[in-house]
Structure formats: structure tokens, C-alpha cells
Amino acid sequence: MKSNLELYKSLYLIRYCEQRIIDLYHENEMRTPMHMSFGQEYIPVGVCSGLDMKCDITSSYRSHANFLAKTADYKSFFYEMYGKEDTVGKGKCGSMHLGDPKKGHILSSGIVASQIPAATGLAFANKYKKIQNFAICFFGDGAIDSGCFWESLNLACLFKLPVFFICEDNEWAVHTPKSDRRGYKDLKKIVGNFDLYFYEEESNDAEILQKKVNEAKNKYKRNPKPIFFNIRCYRYLAHIGIETDWNYNYRPKKVYNKWKKKDCLKIQKDKLFVKYDKNLIKNTEQNIEKKVDAVILKAKKSKSLNSREMFKGLFYEND
């Protein structure tokens, strides 16, 4: 479990990295379509810290917060965004396929729901090898439309796997609301009736979330069943890209205003103000900013994979 300060650092790192994308995207050097986590950061931060980082995760293309919450590796993050060689992905992945399996972020997938089944397999391997580790799949509310979700849920419950299903429920699948996609009213009454532990959350508070996740983990230990969290959140920006999308009028701005008031960084920061000196917080932030800025400069200048090497890595060869 993380202290308030640690949680805030993690949140701030993510927010700042994405802020830099917003600032620099126009330069046209990060040539990869961005699905921003902006506003939704508390979910992976709360979940991963609730498991003391003892987890492997898979996520959707909306992967920035997940990657950084799990790995804190802002260097790889920007190198990958800039398509440079010195990362695991070597620029082949970009924003949509961020991942570093050795650091526990197995993959990000651009196909809705397709990252879910892998988590059941990761969990199975942990159970098989008796490793005390959880597998987490992060997915959007849209993924629940997909049969792949239901099959995976059933498998996990049947095999009683140590897996967390984390639904990042921001209400929208691109521009389609849940009500236009669901033939039922209450997800809880359906998913909650599988053999699992069902939770809901909409606090936007990473600290509350981490506690609940930790509690769920303990429940699993007493009586192993998968865990499902439906976590409400709000996407501040457009489905894709770095801009807001109020101009399309498909979702009311007043909902944004409501969420903005309980912005997940603000929530944690307010708590810090009670405990810590203002300057310490400011320094913490500046420290992160400095490190990130430095990495971005290096990333820009760093070298790319030679395109003659593009055939490398199709197969694992180090046998």
C-alpha cells in the first residue's frame, strides 16, 4: 500500500507525462495515435498500489496511466512515443501497444476486450507455479459488449483464478453511451452473480480504491474467487487525440464540471496539504517535471532502430 504522498507522485507523474504529450504533439515527432488517460489516472494507481505492485497487468490502448502506474518507467514511455530504439518495443509499439512484460505490463491492445483473456492465463500460471501474484486486466465499459469478456469471466470464475477484472467505466465507447450498447439495466446483478467478488467504485480517490483492492485481495486469500471492480471515471479529453471534445456536443459539459471538481489529483493533493508543507509538495512536483523534461529531451535526440533491422524480433531466437 502506498502513502498519500506516493500515490500523489504516481498520479502526478502520469498527469505530467500526458501534459507533455499535449504540449508537444503538434511538433509531429510522436507519430502514434494517442488515447489519453487524462482524468482516469486514479484507477491503475489505486489498483496497482492496492496490490503492492505484486501484479501483472494487461490494458487497452488507453494505456498511458496503466503503464506508468505499473512501471513508473517514463523513460521507456517517451522513447516509445518518439519511436526510438532504446525501449523494449523499439518504437514498434507506440502508444497503443505500450508494454514491458518483464516489468509486469504484459501488453496493451487496440482491439476492444482482447487484452482480457491473457490475464486469465497469467493468473493461471501464477496459480500453477504457486506464485503469490495477481493478474489484472484493465478494460473499458465497451469491452463488456464483447463475447470475449464473458468467456474470460466464466473461465476465471470456473478455475477460481487470482485475477482482477477492472472495468474503467467512463460511460462511453468512443461516442456511444452504455445505454445504446447494453440490453440490461444493472451490470452488478449480472456479473455479480458469477462466482466472484464484485465491487463498485466512483470516488475518484486512489486511496479509497487501493484500500478496497487490498481488502479484495485478502478475500481472495481466504476464499479464492476472481474479483471484479466496476470503476466509474471520466475521460477529460476526446476518445482519441489530445483535445477536448465539447464541440461535438455528444456529452454534456456539466458532467465534466462535476467530475472536474473531484479530479483525482486534486483529491490527493488536498489530503497532502493537511499533512505536508506546501513547498514539499511543490518540490515533489517540480522534481518529477524536471526528470520527465530531461527524458523527453534525450528521447528526441536518441537514435531509432535501423529499418534494415525491421525483420528482427519476429521470433524468439535466444534459445
Binding site: 507519430r31 502514434t32 495515435p33 518504437g91 456511444t176 529499418s307
Partner: protein, 346 residues
């Protein structure tokens, strides 16, 4: 005749068929939202109502069976997929239900389904938003497969596809969307299964698929400078394939290069190369060569992505090799890229 874009041509064909036949409907993920499937569904919901133009859950598998069922009962669905990578989530329904259905009933039940499948490049799309998989649907029996390369063709062929009583998979390359051409305003058909000579020439036949026709034309212009006359054949329909037009072109030019926008291994380019090698055995002066995607998943970084896709430069080099002439200097020539998009006219 009016100058219109490929995407507008798609919209027009859809619009007039929906107007003409009230059994035609269109559905797909997000097609009613403001993006309007890259503009191709603009105005349809307003005109024809939300029972004939609608959004769907992210359930490609069941939706593929859904459109099938609706077609059996006399409707004429157009099912839109903004990526081929998403379309294949319906593989079970495609391979196991739709492919054999007509054969089961010995050709007696109309099965008018159009799958509009968008392929092609954006920028940095990566491995999951870049596949074409044209070959899959030509490999299995039961589908007509079309991949038009111009506004004129896309309008006529989509019209024919919607009117056809068989499942049609209609591949549209995104980079063609902005290409423009003068075409007839009223609706018209182009026969499915008929290829087209895009450009006449005597020295070599290039069989080009979808977007690759644009690259081939560009390459032909470059080669023209050194007096090489390329003939370009666009099969337009990949299944049933117009073998005749290809064969007679190669018999004339005696050389052949096949350029696909898909992987080559077990690809449509392999099929065409195999057919040409067999049918033009006595005429060919050089072996048939092929170009296509590099045999890796599509990488994201710009320079790798550029190396992944075949383009006019590769075509020029391949032609030079076939003709055994020195590679020419291509410096200063700006090839198509996401920054320099082709706008036409062709």
C-alpha cells in the same frame, strides 16, 4: 459529371441504393456518431431513420450473424467495419455460417450482404489497425471480394455489390478516400468480376491491388522518363478474379509484377503469380515478381512503418530489376506518405 472524392462516392452509392430499396439498411460500430465512418454515412440516419442506419454494440461476432440472419429474411444489410482487424472478430460467422450457407441451399436463397471493410494506413497505426487479410476471404469459397481503387469504380462497384444477392466483402483503402475524379452523378453499376487496364504499356504488366494502383501509376510516371512503358491492370474484384485480362496483358508484355497491399505469403499476390506463371508460361521472359507488406506485424514508428509498406519506389526498383536495367536516381522525388497524401485526380 462532377468532381467527387472516393469517400463521397461511397456515400452516394449507399444513399441511392437506400433510397431505391427500402430493404437496404446499414449498421456498424459508431457509424451514426459525428465521425460518420470517415464521412461515408453522412446524412443517412437523418434521411432514412435510425432503423435503417444504426450504431451497434462492440460485438462483431454476433453482429456478423445478425446481418446474415437479416439477409436470409430479405433485408439487404451493409455492415461497416472501420478496420479489417475488427472485421475478423466475425471469422466464425464468416467461415462457418456465411461461407457455406448458399451452397447448403444449392443457390436458391438470395443472400445479399455487403461487408464494407476499411483497410490501409493512417500514421503509426501499429499491428492491430493495419492488416488487410484480403487473402483470407478469397481463400474460402462463398464470398465475392472487391477492392476498388478509384472514385468511379467504388461508386459503381458498391452499387453492384449492394444489388448482388451474395455476400460481398468490399475493401476500401483509407488513403484512397481523398482521391478525386469526375464521375456521373446518377447511380450506375460496374460488373463484379471484371478487371480494368488502368494504363496501357508494352514493357511490363503490373497487377496492382487497391491503393497500390496509385503507387503503380506514380511509379509508371517515373519510369516513363526513361522510356519504360508500364501496363497497369487493376483486377478490382479479387474473387472471382478476372484472369483473362491479366493473362492477356502479360502475354503482350511478357513480364509481370504483382503488387498487393497485404502480406505476400499465401496471399492474393501468390495466387495471381501462380496463375500468371502457369497461363503465360510460354510468353514470360522473366519470372513473375511480387511486392507486398514485409513479413512482420506492422510497426508503429514512422521510418519502420514506411519500410513496412510497399510503395512507388519499391515498384520502380522491382521493375528495373525485372528489366535488368541500372537503378535510376530517385533523389528529390517525394513519394506518398501520411504527410503527402494523394488527392487525385487519377
Amino acid at each position: 459529371m462532377k468532381m467527387i472524392s472516393y469517400q463521397e462516392a461511397i456515400r452516394q452509392a449507399t444513399y441511392s441504393e437506400m433510397e431505391k430499396d427500402k430493404n437496404v439498411f446499414i449498421c456498424g460500430i459508431g457509424i451514426t456518431s459525428h465521425a460518420k465512418a470517415f464521412g461515408t454515412t453522412e446524412g443517412l440516419e437523418e434521411k432514412f431513420g435510425s432503423s435503417r442506419c444504426f450504431d451497434t454494440p462492440i460485438s462483431e461476432d454476433a453482429m456478423t450473424g445478425f446481418v446474415f440472419g437479416s439477409a436470409v429474411k430479405g433485408l439487404k444489410p451493409i455492415h461497416v467495419h472501420i478496420r479489417s482487424d475488427f472485421f475478423i472478430l466475425g471469422m466464425n460467422q464468416l467461415a462457418n455460417i456465411i461461407s457455406p450457407f448458399q451452397y447448403y441451399v444449392h443457390g436458391t436463397i438470395p443472400l445479399p450482404i455487403v461487408f464494407r471493410v476499411i483497410i490501409g494506413r493512417g500514421f503509426g497505426q501499429g499491428a492491430q489497425h493495419s492488416k488487410s487479410l484480403l487473402s483470407f476471404f478469397t481463400h474460402m469459397p462463398g464470398f465475392k471480394v472487391i477492392a476498388p481503387s478509384s472514385p468511379r469504380d467504388v461508386k459503381g462497384l458498391l452499387t453492384s455489390a449492394i444489388r448482388d444477392n451474395n455476400p460481398v466483402i468490399f475493401f476500401e483503402h483509407r488513403w484512397l478516400y481523398w482521391s478525386e475524379q469526375k464521375i456521373r452523378e446518377e447511380s450506375y453499376e460496374i460488373q463484379i468480376g471484371k478487371g480494368k487496364i488502368i494504363k496501357k504499356g508494352a514493357d511490363i504488366t503490373i497487377v496492382a491491388i487497391s491503393w497500390m494502383n496509385v503507387e503503380a501509376i506514380f511509379a509508371a510516371k517515373i519510369l516513363k522518363k526513361r522510356n519504360i512503358n508500364v501496363e497497369i491492370v487493376d483486377p478490382r474484384t479479387l474473387y472471382p478474379l478476372d484472369k483473362k485480362i491479366i493473362i492477356s496483358s502479360v502475354k503482350k508484355t511478357k513480364r509481370c509484377l504483382v503488387v498487393d497491399c497485404d502480406w505476400t505469403f499465401s496471399g492474393v499476390s501468390a495466387e495471381i503469380a501462380a496463375i500468371v506463371s502457369r497461363e503465360c508460361f510460354d510468353s514470360l521472359e522473366k519470372p513473375v515478381q511480387r511486392l507486398g507488406f514485409k513479413h512482420v506485424p506492422c510497426p508503429t514508428a514512422r521510418h519502420l512503418e514506411n519500410a513496412f509498406y510497399p510503395n512507388a519506389e519499391n515498384i520502380v526498383r522491382a521493375v528495373e530489376e525485372i528489366l535488368q536495367i541500372e537503378p535510376m536516381n530517385l533523389e528529390g522525388i517525394e513519394f506518398f506518405s501520411n504527410e503527402k497524401r494523394f488527392k487525385g485526380p487519377l
